[in-house]
């Protein structure tokens, strides 16, 4: 995880009100989000390489998808789901400053 963007470890929820056309904004899970009917997606980067994604579920609560994450030399984060429960993808972290994680859409 040496190439991980500083401060990225932790659990984040999508602050979609702050998104732009090209960026998605995440804030720490304990941030005082305003209530929303649309379930917020979540990302959690654990120091041991475990990745937990929260996806909206059909019963209005998030569903956990557990995978692995690894920082790439170019700063991107590669996410895989070894259990075959999801397609791998890459996250392009643009910044992680003052409790605001900004990811390219």
């Amino acid at each position: 995880m040496n190439d991980a963007p500083p401060g990225v470890i932790g659990a984040w929820l999508h602050s979609f009100e702050e998104d732009t056309e090209t960026t998605a904004v995440y804030r720490p899970r304990d941030h005082p989000f305003r209530p929303a009917r649309r379930v917020r997606r979540g990302l959690e980067f654990r120091a041991d390489g475990t990745y937990v994604e929260l996806r909206p579920g059909p019963d209005d609560r998030p569903r956990e998808m557990v995978g692995r994450w690894r920082a790439q030399p170019d700063g991107r984060i590669q996410v895989t789901f070894p259990q075959g429960h999801g397609r791998p993808y890459e996250l392009n972290v643009l910044s992680c400053v003052d409790g605001v994680l900004t990811v390219a859409k």
Partner: protein, 374 residues
Amino acid sequence: MTEYGSPQPPSRDLCATMLVHRQLLNESMTYRSRRAAIENRALQYERGRRASLRTEVVTLPVVVHVVYNPKTPELNIGDAQIHSQIEVLNKDFRATNSDVGNVPAVWKPLVADIKVEFQLATLDPNGEPTDGIIRVPTDQLSFSWDNGVKASATGGSDPWPSDQYLNMWVCQLGGSLLGYAQFPGGPPQTDGVVILHSAFGTTGTAAAPFDGGRTATHEIGHWLDLYHIWGDDDGACTSDDKVADTPNQADSNTGVPTFPRITCDNGPHGDMFMNYMDYTDDAAMFMFTQGQATRMNACLEGTRASLLVGQVMRMPAPAAATSPAAAVAAVPAQQQPAHNGEVERLLHDSERLTNEILTDIRSALGLVTGDTGK
């Protein structure tokens, strides 16, 4: 894609791990089996192979669990706020809500009276009088989506028997959730709906734009087996809500959309974003459809039939009606003379469904354990 950080091979407690794994697998298969039976029944109703037996309005008994931290006294919401929620439900499920007239003309013929009403329970599980409201102080500052509010062991409130009552928990929820539900077929000890206190009812702590009581309408829709109108396919247009008269739409709508909103080539009328099972603001959702009514009836007369039978049992009956059979026989004579056969069919249907589910469960367990059941 290169793998990394492979998990360490198990070095101890393998037996316990396997037991937990097997338990989870069994539970999962049991749930899948139940869901398959429920879905099969809904399909039969939708295709007209079965029709609803119900012609009268049913009233479901509700118990509201107010779980609050005494350090935040406003979380102990008042009776008026709870009554305001029941009032909204009784309008929304009868299509007597004041905003139903806002349904676009093209969909007005689809507006459905679900013929379900809700009433705070008047008898508790022991038969004692109650106002149907339970107030439970907790040390928890807020609850997550993990069912913690549904058990006293985790700082919540234990449900009343979910085959007799609709359990509604009202509390502070984390993660900005408005509420969540459990589909029929899940564990009885967590059956019911959970609502954020500020999205409950129309008075007290209810706050805009979720102060119209529609979160509970939406969650009870799930509890009666409705899916989200967009099919939970993440915008793919490949899955729908298994209801034919709701247009396929790409993703959830939020806020207050403007009609028409076209997605998934569903023009010219587009998304039915004013349906209770979308994600719009309370002021922007105001209808169930006939197809959704059919699906809810399949659920009410199937896996949740005990609530209908229970209603018969709770109806005023002659004092001599001390046994279930006597009560069932007595009520139609007093109130609904034509429905004696209907009740019997409902009871028969419930028994048959239970047997079907038990058979499915035995089959599933046999698959897991290798026991063919012979």
